[in-house]
Each structure stands twice: as structure tokens, then as C-alpha cells.
């Protein structure tokens, strides 16, 4: 049960999505990946991909224009 932060601040689409896809491959089932983003379109495509994969996803607004997409590798 690890928690891994993935800093994607300042990265535009589709970099956060591709980084998240690569990172989650390294994780074990049960681990949590937190993708930090400040690009609003990543707030759409990162959760969309993760939900399609069947992971538990939550988006949290951290500050003005900053979000954390919390993905639990549930399977």
C-alpha cells in the first residue's frame, strides 16, 4: 500500500495522461497514484482514462487552477 505523487504541474496535455499511464504500470494492486495537475483538460482526460481502466478515481481541487487526481490501482 504505497502512495506515489506524480508532479505534472506545468505540463500540458497529453503529457500528464501519458506520464500517469506509464507510472501506474510500476505500481502494485492497492497502491495509490496522485497526479498533480494544473492543466484543466488533464482534469478531464486523466480521470476518464482511469475510470475506463476500472480504477477508483477522485479529483480534488487543491488551489485555484490546481488539482490532484487520486487513482487507486484497485485491480
Amino acid at each position: 500500500m504505497k502512495e506515489v505523487m506524480l508532479d505534472c504541474y506545468g505540463e500540458a496535455c497529453p503529457v500528464p495522461l501519458v506520464k500517469a499511464q506509464n507510472k501506474i504500470k510500476e505500481l502494485e494492486v492497492g497502491d495509490v497514484l496522485i497526479v498533480q495537475i494544473d492543466h484543466s483538460c488533464a482534469m478531464k482526460n486523466v480521470p476518464e482514462w482511469a475510470r475506463k481502466e476500472g480504477y477508483n478515481v477522485e479529483v480534488e481541487e487543491i488551489d485555484d487552477g490546481e488539482w490532484e487526481v487520486i487513482i487507486e490501482k484497485s485491480k
Binding site: 504541474y9 506545468g10 503529457v15 485555484d64
Partner: protein
């Protein structure tokens, strides 16, 4: 007083209509319908299909002329239509106002959703990519006589074959671009 103000914004933040119309992004379908409606409006008002990047060429020409240059002999501005646009100036250029509207509208939308943020530049790579990418897009859009809006969106929506030809080029360019992106930015 400050206390009241804070309460007011706390209330707005959770207001159902604010969350739906001001805070959350619209769905792709809603946005597509709005775009279609507004491009009909712009077509009927300005008598030209919607375009974006062509105006930037004129901005460049006006700046160049303001600095004492002349574009009269340039092939791109040789037509009488282009010459009359240059003569009328940017205050009378509908596409210029539309572009200013797009920029201020985007700013207003992000402020309304309190999502405004000045982003940090993470690495010099980003500057290099932005400059090279911007130059290539701008130059390519002029060679193709349109960008993804004027040539692609307006082309296809007016049933022009050229729009589909542009789409093929756009698709190949996107594949090539994504490969470069993954290679240099991951």
C-alpha cells in the same frame, strides 16, 4: 463586512447553478452545439466562415507597417481583398475582434471557475518546443491558407473537399507530433 463577504462567496461556491454553469467544464456535446451555433452567427454577420490564424498574419503586417515596413509587394497580401483589409485597419477587422473575444472569453471563463493560474516553466525544453511548434504552426497555417479552424472546421462544415484533405494532413501531423512528444517529453 469581510465576514459577510466570505459567507456570500461560500454560498456561491456551493450554489447548484454556479457549479453547473460556472465551475464544471461543459461536456464535449454541449461545447460542440455552442460552437456550431456561434459559427453560424459569425458566418451570417461577417459574411466569412470562422477562422482564427489568418487574422494573426494581418496583425503581423500592421505591426510591420507601423514600424515603417511595407507588405504591398508580398504575395500573401497582393490581392485587392487583402489590401483593402490592410487599409481599413484592425479596428474594422471582424476576425481581429473575434480573436480578442476568444482570448478575453477564455480569461473570463477561467476566472469564473476560479481556475486562473500562471504556470511555471518547468524546463528550457518547454520553451524550445513552444517556439518551434508555434513557428511551424503559424507558417504551416499560412501555407495551407487556414488553420484547424479556418481550413478544417469551416472547410468541412461548408462541405468543401479541401477540409477533408486538411483533415488527413492534420491526422498525420498529430501522429508524428505525439511520437516526438513522447520521445522528448516523457
Amino acid at each position: 463586512m469581510a465576514e459577510n463577504k466570505k459567507k456570500f462567496f461560500d454560498k456561491v461556491k456551493t450554489n447548484e447553478y454556479y457549479v453547473r454553469w460556472g465551475k464544471n467544464p461543459y461536456t464535449y456535446v454541449t461545447a460542440a452545439i455552442l460552437l456550431s451555433l456561434f459559427q453560424i452567427v459569425t458566418f451570417s454577420v461577417t459574411r466569412n466562415p470562422w477562422g482564427v490564424s489568418n487574422a494573426f498574419a494581418y496583425w503581423g503586417a500592421w505591426v510591420f507597417e507601423a514600424l515603417g515596413g511595407s507588405v504591398d509587394k508580398w504575395y500573401f497580401f497582393a490581392s485587392s481583398g487583402a489590401q483593402s483589409i490592410l487599409e481599413e485597419g484592425f479596428l474594422n477587422h471582424a476576425a481581429t475582434w473575434r480573436n480578442i473575444g476568444v482570448i478575453t472569453g477564455a480569461l473570463a471563463a477561467t476566472l469564473l471557475a476560479s481556475g486562473f493560474k500562471i504556470k511555471k516553466i518547468k524546463s528550457p525544453k518547454q520553451i524550445v518546443a513552444a517556439v518551434i511548434g508555434g513557428l511551424m504552426m503559424g507558417y504551416g497555417a499560412r501555407l495551407a491558407l487556414g488553420c484547424n479552424i479556418g481550413a478544417f472546421y469551416s472547410g468541412i462544415s461548408s462541405l468543401a473537399l479541401s477540409g477533408w484533405v486538411f483533415a488527413i494532413g492534420l491526422f498525420i501531423g498529430a501522429i508524428f507530433g505525439s511520437k516526438l512528444l513522447v520521445k522528448y517529453f516523457m
